[in-house]
Structure formats: C-alpha cells, structure tokens
Symmetry: C2
DNA sequence: CCCATTTATTGTGGAGTCCATAGATAGTCA
DNA sequence: TGACTATCTATGGACTCCACAATAAATGGG
C-alpha cells in the first residue's frame, strides 16, 4: 500500500496506467464509455488519456462493432505486441528460451539439449544459442527485449547468484546476469526454476488468480515453491520449499525407490517411473504399492508446508504430474491423516515450457513494476539494469 | 501495487496522505521545507496540504526551535492522539483490553481474570468488563474508538468466527463481532492470538521492520504464526502454523513432558516449567536434558516452517520465552542439524500484553486501509462495519 | 423515405491543484 | 546596526479534470 501522490502530470500518468490496466485485463476491446466506467474517470478525461496512449503505441483502435442501437463507438484494445520479454529455462537436460509478448503469449522459442556432464562454459554457450534461435524465430533482435528472466536449477539468492546445486558440481557461483548482460541491454533477473514454474501456473495455468498456493515438483529431483499473497515467495536466502531436507520426509530417496520397484526393475532410470505408473494404471498391485509409498513420503513434506501455510491450492507439477491420474488420488489419500483440511490439488496444466514461461512472467512483472513506480514513465524500460 | 488515479481532489488526498505518513514516520517534528523534500512536493503545495491537515486536527504545530541560521521555521508533528483503537486479548486465563493512540502507544488497559472453566456467557461478560475498565481509565467512551480488533484462542476463519479450539469446549462458533457490535459502533476484526502476538513483535517488538518471520509460541500450548512480506499471513481457513499437528514433531506432548521432568515432579503444572528452567540455570543435569528434549521437539516443528519459508528471523514467544536464556541456545543447537541456514532467533520483547497490543496494531492497520482506499476520506472511520 | 430514438463525439467554460518566481520577514552573526 | 540566511507570503501561469450543451452517426418504425 504505497502512497505516491505527486504532480498533475503524475496524476495523468496514474490515470493512463489505470486505463492501460483496464484495457489489458479486459477480455474484449472497450469503448470509451466502458473505460470511463471502469476507471472512474469522466468521459472527457478518458478521451485525453486514450489519444495519448494511442499516439505512444500502447493501445490500438479496432473496427467498431455494428448492429447495436445508437452511434457505434470506437473500441480500443491493449497492444500486447508493443513489447517483448525473454524467459529462459536452464535445466540439467535442456536449455529453453521463450519470447512472449506483453500478455505472456509465446511468440517463439529456442531449445538446446545438454546433459548432466555439460560443463559450465558449454552450458552458458547453449543458453546463448537458445536465445539466438528464439530471437531469429521471432524476427526480433536483442535491443527489442524489454526484460529477461532466467530460471536456473539450484538455490538462487537475492543478488541472482546460484548458491547451491545438487546435480551440477560446477554450476554454483555462476553469474548469469553478468554473462547475459554482455549481450543483452535490458534488466535481467534470475530465479530458481521451481519457483518460476509455480509462477507460471499462477499466471497462465491451473492456479490462475489463486493467492496462496504450494507448487510441488514431483519428479526425479523433488522440490517445492510457494506463491503467497499473489506473489512469489523468495525467502531470505532463496532456500524456500526445502522441506525435503528433513530426512524423516524421505524426499531424498523416494524417487529412487519408486524407480526400483519390481514393475520397472532393470529399465533405464529415466523411463522407470513412467513404467511404474503405467503398471499401476493397469492394476499391478506392486506398482500401486510403490506409488502409495511414494505418495506417503511426498505427503509428509507436503503436509509440513500445508500445515504451515494453509494454502488454498496445491499444484502437482514436475515430470510425474503426467501421471496425475494415478498419483493425485494417492497423494490426496496420504495427506488426509495429516491435514486439518486437505487443500484442493490440481495437476499442472503447462508442459515442459513451464519454467521458461514462468521466467517470462517474472520479466513481465519487472516491466510492470517499472511502469508503476513513482518515477517511472509510460515508455519501454530504458536503462540496462541488474535485477535480482 | 494498486494504481488508483482519480481526479484532482484524489490527488490532493494522496498528497495529504503521503505528508501525513511522512510526519508519522519521522522521529522529530518536521519543517515545511523538510516535508517538501520528503514528499517530493513543492513548498507551496506542502503549505496547502499542511494547513488543511491542521484544520482537520491531524497534525499540530510545535514551538519553532531557535538557534539556527535564518528565520525559524514552523514545525509540525503528527497528532497520534487524534484517534484511538481498542485491542482485546481473550485468553484462557485472562481477558485484557488495551486502548492505544494512533501510534500504538498504550493509554490504558483493563484486565479481568477468568479460567478454563469459565463458560461462554461469563467469558463474554468478562470481555465487556475489561473493555469498560479500559475506557474508564482512558477517559474515552465507546464512540471515540476508531477500530477494534480481538485476539482469541483457536482457529479464526475469514469471517471472524472461531472454528476450532482445544481447551474451551463451548468457545468454537462464538460470534465475537456480533457480540461486541451491539455496543461498539466501529469496525471490528477477530484474529487468532498467536498471529496477533507475531504482529505486535513485528510492529513494536524485537522484529521491528522484519518482512518475513516465524513466531513461536513456546508455552503450555504451543503454537506458531507467520509474518510474510511484512503482513500477517492468515491462510485460506485461518489454520496456519499448525505444524504441531504432525505427530512426529511431538508438539502435542512436549510441554507436558517438560513439566514431568524430575526437577519439577510433584509441583503444580503451572509452575513446573519455571522450576525446570531454574534448575537448568543452576546446572541440574536432569533439567538440562529435559530442556534439550523439549528443544528437540520444538525444533522439529520449527524446522518444517523454516525450511518451507526461509524466514529472516524466528521470534521465541510464549510463556517459556521468559527463560530464553536457557531455551534459546538449546533451540539453536537443535535446529542446526535440520536447517541449511539457522535464522536469527530472538526472544520476545513484549510481555503478556503482547496479544492485546497486536490486536491494537491490527485495528490500526484497518484504520490505515480505510484512509488509503481510493474512496476513503481523510477523516475518522465513520460507518460501523464488520471486518474479518 | 423521413423522423424519433439512442448512443457516441466534439466543443466550451469553470474549478481545483500544483509549480516557479519574486519580494517580505525574522532570526543569527560580526 | 548591517550583512547573511532561511523561511514565509503573494502572484500568475500551466495543467488536468469535470459538467454541460451541441453535433454526429447509427437503428427502427411509420
């Protein structure tokens, strides 16, 4: 609840922003009268604001719709194509770059495969190749980007440094902002990948509009992230959702035990879990038991977070969420003995672009913040700045 | 980040509010020039705003300080005595009502002793007697109150209803807003007592200004509450910080086990814990071991919250926090094996008025919200309204 | 085809708020 | 007493919003 106040021009800016927001959040183009009603301004003032925004390229007039009574009104829409942001997902097995417009719609993407043995320089090079591919595919160039956010595995602190990673020995300490800042001249943010997946679900996925939620990354490397009061919860040092570190939850070993179950014995570990889920779907008692055991452990850590936070929703994401038809009921059953009220549980709606899309959402958030800050102006973010 | 905008009078209102906030947050009275610098407004505008605020009784002029160069400047201060709020703590053993000014400073209080066998009607009657006593002591009457908040034991939902209580069988379902609304004509809010204690610590106590913290209520009935992003975290149904419900933490029985330790065997349970802590302070090995066991269990639940949230600070409150000199180091040791980073732990600074003060803080928050809402005016809250 | 009805657009004047600037005022210091 | 400094006071200009009246463009009925 920040009170800003200021100048008459600041007032005009605030009114422009509230008009812009109204147009952006509306599903259909709005007439001047509708916009006046939504912003609470008089019609005259809305005309001033709208012509101004139109000249600056923020909104566009669309064909008036005929057929109603009276003189047809001009209609205006938000121009989501006025600017673009870049979201990057740096994972163990892939690097994915996505370019979206200001509404978060994907325009293009670039993908480069890597693996757990890829060294830091090669991984960074892969990042740049993915970005270039996405830029080429979109027809844009680097200076057209208004913001960039990067999702990385590991714990990311407030300065955007990766501080702790389990799987990639040479990844901690990498300065992604410094690296990408050499070629990109817009604000750059770094965040943990699970956190960005949670953000994507809250903005574009099954958790649209939910204020408090726990995101579970159920996969070979379990994790969790939190959206609290509608915002990503970063924590003091970035290490949130780490309940799996409590040995009693069994999170450290639960995925391996699932892959070791008789239904998948002997298959390569990357396919094992899928086989177990398939077997369970076919009614195999051993597979069902293995999944119940997995769900039991997943529920222990989840219960710790749910009892702490009492969220409205739990989103089941990660690779295993593809088998939500089997896993979700088991998780629900396993949570019941622990929770006062088992929250709604929904499987992730977004695919493997989840993290990159969440990164784009975070970049959009920062663009927004710049607009709405007291000294910001309604124009594209200008100065290259380091964000964390 | 709510964009408001509006007409010229709304702009004036915003500028008045930012001036008011600047004066309230300043430690000393400010001159017009200083105020202009802090608000970013021109001197002329500040004069307009300030004379207006003075006429409405929000600020007062103080004697100019001589001795400097140039013409002595008028100085203005926020009038914290312009309004008052009431905070009520309804506990098992006492009802405490506190009246504070707009700065959260206690003016008067009223206290009535009750016990676990007091039935609901008598407890509600005690609430009213405590309120009347506080009013009499302050020289105010009910219509002078701008806001009321009540801290109750048990889970409190968004509608302000008490939904779940362990110790008082006839307390769930009590409609405190309806009851007090019969005699008080200002907005009334109800919240869980531990949550309010946490709020008090964040506003007036050891956690001043900390954005993310976990409040531990270490006492005969353990509990926890969270401040996240500078605001009280209520949760979807009000049941946050309930990690103690996980049987593996041992929270349900840890206090009884402490009271049962040899150092206090045979003493009345209300004094037992104090005796154990005293014995530990004197070096008694059995007492030290009992405290280590207690700290171990307290740490299990705390670790679940800390790993989930990665807070900056843990505040140790509740009755046992009087023995923080013994308990805090034990808790720190017990947390270390579980946490990546053990947060700063500080003992509560506020005494047993903690909950009532937190209630006053919450009432002040609601008064503030009314000021800063787009359609609010800079005047005392008018209409009686139910808050939850 | 013309006209009443409905809704949107355009134009004018007034009120409120903020700002820049210049001159008057009230202290201190030599 | 007179220079100096910072504050107070007054005036005019610029900007933004609003209310109201007149004009314009569509529909639908006679």
């Amino acid at each position: 609840m920040q009170v800003s106040g200021g100048d008459l021009q600041r007032l005009r800016q605030l009114n422009s922003l509230s008009s812009l927001r109204a147009l952006r959040e509306a599903t259909d183009p709005l007439t001047l009268t509708e916009l006046a009603a939504r912003t609470g301004l008089s019609r005259n003032s809305v005309i001033d604001v709208v012509t101004d925004l139109q000249e600056r390229g923020w909104i566009a007039e669309v064909e008036p719709t005929m057929g109603g009574m009276g003189r047809p009104a001009k209609r205006y829409r938000f121009r989501a194509d006025a600017g673009h942001v870049l979201g990057i997902d740096i994972g163990v097995h892939k690097v994915l770059a996505v370019i979206t417009d200001l509404a978060g719609r994907t325009l293009s993407s670039g993908r480069v495969a890597v693996d757990r043995h890829t060294a830091r320089p090669e991984r960074l090079e892969a990042v740049w190749r993915a970005v270039e591919a996405a830029l080429v595919a979109s027809g844009l160039s680097a200076p057209d980007l208004w913001g960039v956010a990067i999702g990385s595995i590991g714990v990311v602190n407030r300065e955007g440094l990766v501080t702790r990673v389990n799987d990639l020995p040479d990844w901690p300490g990498v300065d992604l902002i410094g690296h990408l800042g050499q070629r990109l001249s817009c604000p750059i943010t770094v965040e943990n990948d699970s956190k960005l997946a949670a953000l994507a679900e809250q903005r574009l996925g099954v958790a649209a509009g939910v204020r408090d939620l726990v995101y579970l990354h159920a996969g070979r490397r379990p994790g969790a992230a939190l959206i609290l009061n509608g915002r990503l919860h970063h924590g003091f040092s970035g290490a949130t959702g780490e309940v799996g570190l409590m040995e009693m939850t069994g999170w450290r070993t639960m995925a391996a035990r699932l892959e070791d179950s008789p239904a998948a014995r002997g298959t390569p570990p990357q396919e094992a879990a899928g086989l177990v889920f398939a077997a369970a779907r076919a009614g195999d008692p051993g597979a069902l038991a293995a999944i119940d055991t997995y769900a039991h452990h997943l529920a222990l850590g989840t219960a710790a977070m749910v009892l702490t936070l009492d969220p409205e929703l739990v989103v089941l994401g990660g690779g295993f969420s593809r088998s939500a038809d089997v896993l979700l009921p088991a998780l629900h059953r396993a949570l019941e003995p622990h929770c006062l009220r088992v929250p709604d549980i929904r499987p992730s709606a977004l695919g493997e672009e989840c993290v990159a899309l969440g990164a784009a959402c975070l970049a959009l958030d920062h663009v927004d913040e710049q607009f709405f800050s007291p000294d910001g102006s309604i124009s594209r973010p200008a100065a290259p700045r380091r964000h964390a």
